[in-house]
């Protein structure tokens, strides 16, 4: 019997020190600040709760986000980039399924300028026609190019099956026919729709004093319009198993399967996170041991349980040679749904999650991301402090219980030569 060390010590570790503060500006913008000690580095994340929910033309939110960095009334694209890159940092903007995210890094001496650029990006973006035309072309090509890779092609097909009728049916890049028709007016309309103070969460982590940066943040964010962009999250059920085959030339078959999973609010979430880690995270996971090590089907095999506002799924992947694919599909589903799990597996998976979570906090950028992510998704930023404890509290019985209640159906896509 192998001995599992309980990672009590790990639970008390934290990265980069300590002082955490929360503020809500008058207009409703939520600010989370964390002081660290070091050589004057700062990273931030700005989350705008929206994502692709409620998009009239698919892809408009992502285009809006990209165009934030292409020019404002006050700064051109070069100036925007150089304000961050001159200090060794960066700025980037993109849309995900549930939020728009602007992330950046800079040094303390560049913060004032950086926040002025951020203010201008959010409040007075130009959305110039020339930039829109070019970025539309780039996005269209990026969308079509997803066929170049088996995994991306499979993921897009899987979205259309398992998230049918919800905003997740298409990736944030959008839909070809919609993208072509997106005009500047569409982008401006989306910007006015989603960029509301109450949807905005800003997290800043760095080697500063809260008192020094708070006034700068107030200046940068107080202009955001009051109010909230409210939308309904559509849900897609998974109550019938199915498998779809897609042809593509190549040397491997790519298999992706989505399984029903619990919603992220509530107790089941953490138990299911542990279940996912037992099944498909790392070299000790069931999928790795059974399908790679014992059967030799694959080099890469894993599962994930992405945190989304609606239509929760566990997604499992394996890439295998065409002659092994039929058996691999069967075995993958079998391992996920039925392979034996014991208490030791659960303890090991918990340690794995806790260790990964803490190691992921090494950079200020990731620390800012987690704080903002938990807040914008509705957990509240304090979840960043409680997460490891919540994982630790999961016991074997809870994992068995969620496994019994979920993972009943699957939607699989096989991209095969």
């Amino acid at each position: 019997m192998r001995f599992i060390i309980v990672l009590l010590f790990l639970l008390s570790l934290s990265f980069g020190g300590a002082r955490l503060r929360e503020y809500t500006l008058e207009n409703g913008v939520k600010i989370i600040l964390k002081e660290t000690h070091g050589k004057g580095l700062i990273s931030g994340s700005i989350f705008i709760r929206s994502g692709t929910h409620g998009e009239k033309k698919r892809g408009v939110t992502n285009l809006m986000a990209i165009l934030f960095t292409k020019g404002t009334k006050k700064h051109d694209a070069y100036k925007i980039a150089s304000m961050f890159e001159d200090y060794g940092g960066f700025v980037s903007a993109s849309a995900s399924d549930d939020y728009v995210e602007i992330s950046f890094s800079t040094k303390i001496e560049g913060l004032r300028e950086a926040l002025d650029v951020i203010r201008s990006m959010l409040s007075e973006p130009l959305f110039e026609d020339g930039d829109l035309r070019r970025e539309k072309q780039n996005t269209l090509k990026a969308l079509r190019s997803r066929k170049e890779r088996g995994h991306e092609l499979a993921m897009d097909r899987l979205r259309q099956i398992t998230y049918r009728g919800t905003s997740y049916e298409y990736a944030p890049l959008g839909k070809e026919e919609d993208l072509e028709s997106i005009t500047r007016e569409d982008v401006v309309e989306r910007w006015k729709e989603v960029l509301k103070a109450k949807n905005t969460v800003v997290s800043l982590v760095g080697d500063f004093k809260v008192e020094e940066v708070l006034p700068l943040l107030k200046d940068a964010l107080s202009e955001l319009p009051k109010g909230e962009y409210a939308y309904q999250v559509k849900e897609a059920d998974i109550s019938l198993s199915l498998l779809e085959r897609v042809k593509r030339e190549g040397s491997q078959a790519t298999i992706l399967c989505a399984f029903d999973a619990p919603a992220f609010r509530g107790e089941d979430y953490f138990a299911f996170k542990v279940l996912d880690a037992v099944l498909g995270d790392g070299m000790t996971s069931k999928l790795f041991k059974e399908l790679r090590e014992k059967k030799g089907y694959a080099y890469a095999v894993y599962s994930t349980y992405p945190t989304r506002l609606g239509s929760p799924r566990l997604i499992a992947y394996i890439g295998t040679s065409p002659e092994k694919k039929e058996q691999a599909i069967k075995d993958l589903i079998e391992v996920v749904k039925r392979h034996e799990i014991n208490p030791e597996d659960v303890e090991l998976a918990k340690n794995k999650i806790i260790g990964d979570f803490l190691l992921a906090h090494q950079t200020r950028a990731r620390q800012a991301w987690y704080l903002g992510f938990f807040e914008v998704m509705g957990f509240g930023w304090r979840m960043d402090l409680e997460y490891t404890q919540r994982i630790k509290e999961v016991d074997y019985q809870k994992v068995r219980d969620v496994r019994e209640r979920f993972l009943k159906f699957h939607h699989c896509v096989v991209v095969e030569p």
């Binding site: 200090y87 040094k107 079509r144 190019s145 040397s251 794995k352």
Partner: protein, 416 residues
Amino acid sequence: MATLALSMDLKTYRLDNGATLVIKNREDTEAVAIHVWFRVGSAYEDYHQKGIAHFLEHMLFNGSEKYPYGQLDYVVESLGGNINAGTSKDYTFYHITIAKPYWRQALDVLYQLTQRPLLLQDMVEKEKPIVIEELRRGKDNPTTLLWEEFEKTIYKVSPYRHPIIGYEETIRSFTREMLLEFYRNFYQPKNMYIVVVGSVEPEEVKGAVLETFGKEEGRAVPKVQKLPEPEQLENRKVELQDRRLEKSYWLIGWRAPAIGTKEYYTLLVLDQILGSGRTSLFYREIREKGLVYSISTGDFGRPKDNIFFVYATLEKDKLEHVKAEVFELLKKLTVSLEEEEFEKAKQRLINSTLFSLERVETDSYYIGYSLAVVGLLDYYKFFENNIRSVRKDDLVRMIGDLLSKPYSEVLMVPKR
């Protein structure tokens, strides 16, 4: 100054058996990274061994004296750590990142893994289909084929022309004896660099290393003469077609200064100016003008026969225009680059290393790379100073040299 200040905390030891140990004590983190590097990679293989360096890396995870098969990943993951390894053409390294209380266990795991492996015959057979799946997974991605073709086009003699992973035929032919021979030659103290970065007490780490790695016998490492690539005398161009593609991929490369040479720092500044970030020249003048979907620059960081390349995704009918623009911008740079822009680029490069060092694993990687590939810790220690010392004249000279040299191109286009 910051990078220099960081390097002050370095402790370097040469063990009696010839192994090198570098410890960097960092108070600003709760994580520890332990790396074990070997100066061996696929460029050290002979013709029948293609892929053996990488295969051996896989095999070391299949059981050691103290940790039977399956036990090692179990120990690391149950301590919340990450373990992984990588094989390149010039080096192979094994590493664990873990919370600081567990550095001793991690060190022991890496010692057993690299110095006490079992390399059992049945495990060799178990591993073959896995590595072949890894190879096929690579080939399933058109860009893998593009990069392989690029190196095949540039290198006609050098072992760099072969892919790291090898070929299905060679992988199938590997035996325990072949692996043991390769292992005994290269996985020994005189060819080994141990790096520990994190909140650790150097004396304690040194003690633990002496108790493990320090006990191994130091034998002479066989000298491998990597065949040098002869000078390229003509431009080379290869065009590939692929049915899976939606756009074209273009790579152009020139022979470039080796990592660690004085000229290499000039190359890094050139790379920063041309292709690093959204402030870079190619991004502004080529990508933002709508000529390409993406464009970047880089080099292979090799200790000899290094290559500098420009990589773009685009429509085939724009290629001539893009290529002309790349050469034109390079030419213009020799006359119009302002001192201020030049200094700014150097500063951007120096500042960006500060962010990359936030993670202990990146910090260890740079140290390991300096020791095992460059052959000098000075590359890591004096990086900032060396970048500062690059002068505009050096850069202008380098561009002139680049423009006068033959180049190699690979274009991969959609097959209709």
